[in-house]
Amino acid sequence: MEDNIIKVTVIDREGVSHELEAPTDMNMNMMEVCKSYELPVEGTCGGMAMCASCHMYVESDTILPEKSDDEEDMLDEAFFVDDEKSRLGCQLHITSDLDNLIVKLAPVG
């Protein structure tokens, strides 16, 4: 890992893998990283865990922070939810712990 830069992989809805670099010192989250690379993530609510439009599946065994109640609640309004893998990208804050994370974008309902 370079200084303050981690690598994450995002698999889009067509199955194409995108290897992205994400800064750990810009207070970003996975929804924003996807948007900054113009990947098709809406992020409608701007990152408040209030819309589920950044629903993604975690495909790597990266250890992530537990889901907050807000995130769990919002996943209730999402579709194609996988209890083991589903997360909201906006709630995955870019830290060095996320280095080599692999996520797959969930289908749009």
Binding site: C45, G46, M50, C51, D73, D76, E77, F79, V81, G109
Partner: protein, 335 residues
């Protein structure tokens, strides 16, 4: 027919502030919004969230911002068509527009300002293949009249307050039977609502099916059975007259996308000189527009609204002179 000077589509913060700036120029406004209340996302998605980047408010709740804007525009007595969405726009020979809502309400104005934010809030629809076959034939996304369900078998899906409250209400002597299907064991509704539903389930007044979701629909002319996938019990088939999926609302640009405006990435392209679109007399302000350097901020929407009404004034009164007047000098003279 409702007639006004500026017809604003969208009653979020940008749309509301437009009324104020237009009022200073003695232009009247009328607002259309698909939601039943003003405030847009601020009142629908995050009324209790604090906003920190409104000048002179170190912190203000989104719901309070809406209330303050409503107070600020009160002197200008705007009209509202709430709970209806703008569907059609027709240009008249005199250059004005007639905008018709989904309920047929007609509005006439020389200027249309689209302040539609992310679009029209619509119920989130579960991705089930034959869903549309049963819409209004057993599937309803909104409960308009609970009496409609009297004596019927009803299945409700969702884990929020509306799912819990309606399940409780309909199971209380209205429907013949009520089943509540939810993805998890816990609910996000108010503790009180959750407890009431849990109690009913325990007393056998309501069929609570958790760790489950509806994945299939069966019926001929109308719905008569839902297929539920349960985490441990596999597939359950449940006969029912109605299924009410309550998964909240999500915004879609909707019919405005068909108004002949230049659209890029779900947003309306504008000229930053006056936020005009490619159609004369139609402007787009706030989160709904896009231009090089666009930022989707309430702050920027206010600025765009202010410049837009200057251009609207010149269009409505081509012969009248207009100079910038300060509210500190003249105060606010309503009408």
């Amino acid at each position: 027919m409702i007639e006004t000077d500026i017809l604003i589509i969208g009653a979020g913060p940008t749309g509301l502030f437009t009324v104020f700036e237009a009022g200073l120029l003695k232009l009247k406004c009328h607002l259309i919004d698909s939601l039943p209340q003003a405030g847009g996302q601020c009142s629908e998605i995050y009324p209790k969230k604090p906003i920190y980047d409104i000048p002179a408010y170190p912190e203000i709740l989104a719901g309070d911002l809406t209330d303050r804007l409503m107070e600020q525009i009160k002197p200008f007595n705007p009209g509202f068509t709430l709970g209806e969405s703008a569907v059609d726009i027709d240009k008249q020979e005199d250059g004005s527009f007639i905008v018709t809502t989904n309920r047929g309400t007609k509005h006439k104005a020389p200027i249309v300002a689209i302040a539609g934010g992310l679009g029209v809030f619509e119920p989130r629809k579960p991705p089930i293949e034959n869903l549309s076959n049963f819409e209004d034939k057993g599937i309803e996304y909104i409960i308009k009249d609970p009496e409609f369900y009297r004596g019927k078998d009803v299945v409700i899906s969702g884990g929020g307050d509306s799912a819990l409250d309606w399940a409780y209400f309909l199971a209380n002597g209205v429907a013949k039977s009520v089943a509540l299907v939810h993805r998890r064991n816990s609910f996000r509704g108010h503790l009180d609502s959750v407890q009431k539903v849990m109690d009913m389930a325990e007393n056998g007044q309501l069929n609570l099916i958790t760790e489950a979701e509806v994945i299939g629909l069966n019926g001929s002319d109308s719905l008569n059975e839902v297929v539920i996938k349960h985490k441990t019990q596999g597939e359950i088939k449940l006969p029912t007259d109605h299924w009410i999926p309550l998964f909240g609302l999500s915004p879609k640009l909707g019919p405005i996308a068909e108004w002949g405006l230049n659209i890029s990435k779900n947003s309306i392209e504008v000229d930053t000189f006056d936020y005009s679109t490619n159609r004369e007399g139609i402007y787009a302000i706030g989160d709904v527009n896009t231009y090089p350097g666009k930022l989707k901020l309430i702050l920027c929407g206010f600025h765009e609204a202010t410049l837009m009404v200057q251009s609207a004034f010149a269009r409505i009164h081509p012969d009248k002179k207009n100079v910038l007047k300060y509210t500190t000098v003249n105060g606010v003279n309503g009408f």
